[in-house]
């Protein structure tokens, strides 16, 4: 049956297993439970939704084969008692014909003994990770001795056996993103002089021995795959040439059924942010595929079935792995198959819900798909009584509210004072490398039309209008107002506010001081925007570094940009007054005053203040009244969407 995505939906054989299609959801840490525990209900629902959506293969989150530190605790996979729990998970996924593998891993030095309750962590050599933006992971590990190596190899084998008994279709050995196996491969962290260090062949020994052990434990008729980095992007680390060698060697073992290439050692390459082009690391898969006969998996910011299809059609990979794309829209494969492309909710690569939340040790969600991780409790349930709902404010909070409400069968109308919906997203997208936002906007606008929400643009709603309409429920999502702190000189012409600059409504001079009071993306993207336009920028932040509320990948990328363009960072500093081209500053801790001379423009990046006037004046005067998004309290996209999703379900 020929169709737009013929390659994407062509089955493929891995070892003795046939995948129904080429879409894979690879292993990741959704933090519904710690990787050394057994899976729980949320996790099952979460993955089952992806299976229902039509993914061909799901690799369940990295399972630790043994406890990460020298302390004698036990990881779940170290005893058979975990098998029933895993079985439940496997059956839930199999129900939809999706195949399921398990990734076996040991975190090596990607861990913190403190967080884990003592002992010391393992690594091939006693070298701590750099993790510039994640101090917790800079611990000095213990160099593994030969017994450790043997012990771990056995742990891998035993774990694989249990996985097989739980009814999985295969296992995957994680040797990427700086986990133990990867550390061994990478000369940066492996300085051993014994048979496990030195030339590549030696550095591979731990991996090959592990594979052999696993194969012995699971037998021939079970899929074994390896996921490894095609390029460390670290001086002295693995390069593509090494990767090709590794691939050949792995194929030569005859124990491996598929290869999964990715990129990066401990940098942002592992989870490419919005700043990356789409599908940036496909070339690695392609290069590896050229030298081996095994099926090869490609991954990395592939957020769109069209791209996935291209990759396959160009024979650059045999399987396309997408994590965030499937978090953002579990139904993506199905929608693609049915040609409902515009209904697909694309991952924008903001890393807000998937990465940042999990770094906060909170369960995963998604900035564009709040249902992610709440599959059960946030399933769409038709409303008992159909209400006429009026959503005021066409920002994401309003739009998400409208979407959910409409899905539940309410009659929804949405009012926006601007001429377009989700203006803020377009504004945000003006910053370099942030075009991703447009995708979210595009999705919502399409949904509004699809769901028959009637849209009123360019209308500022007054209480009277609300009373006039015959409405059951009103949702106020009016967002924020610009908010420049009132300091001496705040109203002088050379003091401007971020949005004005992005919309190019304010003229900006050569020397600019960016005052990042909002310590998420605002300050950084502003500085990026200005430096891109050739301005000299100095950034003041009250906290110890700019953007300390961001995930490390995004931080790494945006810092790289700013530093290379010569932006100047001044942490722990606030603004006292603006005196023409003089800027009077103070140090947050000592309070000592400072002065920055000949400043042409001062740009304030603030949260803005809640624009909840309408809400107050409606309070108690309408049947149902709700508050959603920034106008409740100014936060970021993720929070607005979550608000909307929540309110939409309250109605």
């Amino acid at each position: 049956m020929e169709q737009q995505f013929e390659h994407l939906f062509m089955p493929i054989q891995l070892g003795n297993v046939t995948l129904p299609n080429r879409i894979m959801m690879p292993a990741h840490v959704p933090r519904f439970y710690a990787p050394f525990l057994e899976p729980n209900e949320n996790h099952i629902n979460y993955l089952q939704a992806r299976a229902r959506g039509g993914a061909g293969l799901i690799v369940t989150s990295p399972h630790f084969v043994s406890w990460p530190t020298t302390r004698p605790f036990h990881a779940a996979l170290e005893s058979d008692s975990v098998i029933p729990a895993l079985k439940r998970l496997v059956d839930a996924i199999h129900e939809y014909g999706t195949k399921v593998f398990a990734q076996l891993t040991h975190p090596g030095s990607v861990a913190s003994s403190r967080a884990l309750g003592g002992g010391s962590i393992f690594a091939p050599s006693a070298i701590p990770r750099k993790s510039p933006f994640f101090p917790l992971f800079q611990e000095m590990p213990r160099e593994m001795d030969l017994d450790d190596i043997k012990r771990f190899e056995e742990a891998y084998a035993a774990a694989a056996r249990r996985i097989k008994e739980a009814g999985y279709d295969g296992v995957e050995i994680g040797a990427m993103s700086g986990v133990l196996q990867h550390l061994f491969l990478s000369a940066v962290f492996n300085r051993r002089t014994d048979p496990y260090g030195g030339i590549l062949e030696n550095r591979m020994r731990f991996l090959t021995e592990t594979i052999a052990a696993i194969r012995k434990a699971v037998g021939r008729d079970f899929v074994v795959g390896v996921r490894f980095a095609g390029d460390d992007f670290t001086e002295g680390g693995l390069t593509l040439d090494d990767a090709k060698e590794i691939a050949k060697a792995l194929e030569a073992t005859g124990h491996v059924d598929y290869l999964f290439t990715c990129a990066g050692l401990e940098g942002s390459q592992h989870i490419p942010t919005m700043y990356y082009p789409l599908a940036p690391f496909v070339y690695i898969a392609a290069a590896v595929k050229e030298v081996v006969n095994l099926p090869v998996v490609a991954v990395g910011r592939i957020n769109d079935p069209v791209i996935a299809e291209q990759i396959l059609a160009n024979h650059q990979a045999d399987i396309v792995a997408m994590v965030r794309a499937l978090i953002a829209d579990p139904e993506m494969p199905r929608k693609a198959r049915e040609g409902r492309l515009d209904e697909i909710r694309k991952c924008i690569g903001c890393n807000e819900g998937c990465v940042m939340r999990t770094w906060l040790i909170a369960p995963l969600t998604c900035a564009v798909n709040p249902e992610a991780g709440k599959e059960k409790e946030w399933a769409i349930i038709p409303a008992k009584e159909k209400k006429r709902v009026m959503v005021i404010g066409g920002g994401v909070a309003g739009l998400e509210t409208a979407r959910v409400a409409a899905l539940r069968g309410h009659k929804v109308s949405i009012y926006e004072k601007e001429g377009v919906l989700a203006k803020d997203l377009t504004v945000a997208a003006k910053a370099p490398g942030r075009q991703g936002w447009e995708d979210a906007r595009r999705y919502y606008i399409y949904q509004m039309n699809l769901l028959g929400v009637d849209i009123h643009l360019g209308i500022t709603v007054t209480p009277e209008m609300v009373f006039k309409e015959n409405i059951d429920a009103v949702v106020v999502a009016t967002g924020t107002l610009p908010d420049i702190p009132d300091i001496p000189g705040a109203n002088s012409p050379n003091v401007v506010e971020m949005k004005q600059v992005l919309e190019e409504k304010a003229s900006v001079g050569e020397n600019v001081v960016v005052v990042a009071l909002q310590n998420h993306m605002h300050g950084l993207q502003m500085a990026d925007f200005l430096t891109e336009h050739g301005k000299k920028v100095e950034m003041l932040t009250l906290s110890s570094f700019a953007g300390d509320r961001l995930d490390q990948q995004t931080l790494e990328d945006v810092y790289t940009r700013l530093v290379s363009k010569g932006a100047k960072f001044t942490p722990l500093t606030g603004v006292k007054a603006v005196q023409g081209s003089r800027l009077v500053t103070y140090h947050v801790l000592t309070g000592t005053e400072g002065v920055i001379e000949n400043v042409d423009t001062v740009v304030f990046c603030t949260h803005g203040r809640p624009n909840d006037g309408l809400y107050r004046s409606l309070k108690g005067k309408v049947k149902e009244l709700y508050l959603a998004g920034q106008c409740a309290s100014p936060r970021e996209l993720l929070d607005s969407v979550l608000d909307g999703a929540f309110v939409g379900r309250q109605l």
């Binding site: 062509m10 046939t18 390459q269 070339y283 024979h315 990328d557």
Partner: protein, 284 residues
């Protein structure tokens, strides 16, 4: 006038995994047989001509008895005669020799073939036969028009990019047909029944007295394997570059970017600037 249409029964592998082990063979149960879709279009074209000019249409195939299913299906489009050369599935060259030997003894004006066979995917038989009969040929036509009885036809040959070449061609001639030339019909049941009853003229390969030249058939040196297509080239940073340089290239999407000359000025001069370039590049 007479039209001869050469058709083939082709195998189609419906199963996603054609060969499970390298060096293995195709499992016959994974194949279904049908009339080559390209030939389906050819016979449809022939029939459309017949309906306008009332020519005689002969369908001819070379293959084992089971190929008669496809032959009959082709016939049911409304042909007048069916010929099968009895042989096992042969290579393009031998098939061409056989077809030629038979066609020589028929009178014909137009020979139509599908541009290629869906299974072997070679598209050689057409040219071979034309050469062996020493008649003119046009491959991949998307339109055919008989210039009445002047023993001439005008065909449209597809050149890609939507361009077509209109060629006038003396008869007899052979044409291979692009799939886009028409939408083949679904034969009516009466014609299917007719085709079932109609007798097939079977010709034994042996009786044709042919010699097959080994070096052309290549059949002795063939082997099959699972497909291994080349990956399409994508930008790949050189491993010898420093890590940060590699990263920078990735970030720019591997597109180093051309050094462009930037101009700013009054619209008119700008317009002229563009025009100049267009002339340089022979676009104007």
């Amino acid at each position: 006038m007479k039209i001869i249409v050469c058709v083939k029964q082709v195998g189609y592998i419906y199963h996603p995994i054609a060969i499970d082990s390298p060096g293995g063979a195709i499992d016959p149960e994974k194949i279904v047989y049908m009339l080559n879709p390209y030939d389906e279009v050819a016979i449809e074209e022939a029939l459309r001509i017949k309906e306008n000019f009332g020519f005689e249409v002969i369908v001819i195939t070379a293959g084992p008895p089971k190929a008669e299913a496809a032959l009959r299906y082709a016939f049911s489009f409304g042909a007048d005669r069916m010929i099968r050369i009895h042989c096992q599935s042969l290579d393009a060259w031998s098939i061409s020799l056989a077809l030629t030997a038979v066609i020589r003894n028929l009178t014909y004006d137009v020979i139509l073939c599908g541009r290629k066979a869906m299974d072997t995917n070679e598209g050689m038989v057409g040219s071979f036969v034309a050469e062996l009969l020493n008649i003119s040929q046009v491959s991949g036509i998307v339109g055919l028009e008989i210039v009445s009885q002047k023993k001439k036809v005008v065909v449209e040959k597809y050149l890609g990019r939507g361009d077509r070449e209109v060629i006038e061609c003396n008869l007899p001639a052979l044409f291979t047909v692009e799939r886009s030339v028409n939408e083949p019909r679904y034969p009516t049941v009466p014609s299917r029944l007719k085709a079932e009853k109609k007798g097939i003229e079977v010709i034994e390969l042996g009786t044709l007295g042919l010699r097959f030249d080994e070096e052309l058939t290549l059949s002795n040196i063939r082997s099959i394997s699972p497909p291994k297509p080349k990956p399409k080239k994508v930008f790949t940073p050189d491993s010898h570059l420093s890590a940060s340089d590699r990263m920078r290239l990735i970030m720019s999407g591997g597109m180093a970017g051309k050094k462009s000359d930037l101009f700013e000025g009054p619209p008119e001069t700008m317009a002229n600037k563009i025009a100049e370039v267009l002339i340089q590049e022979k676009i104007l």
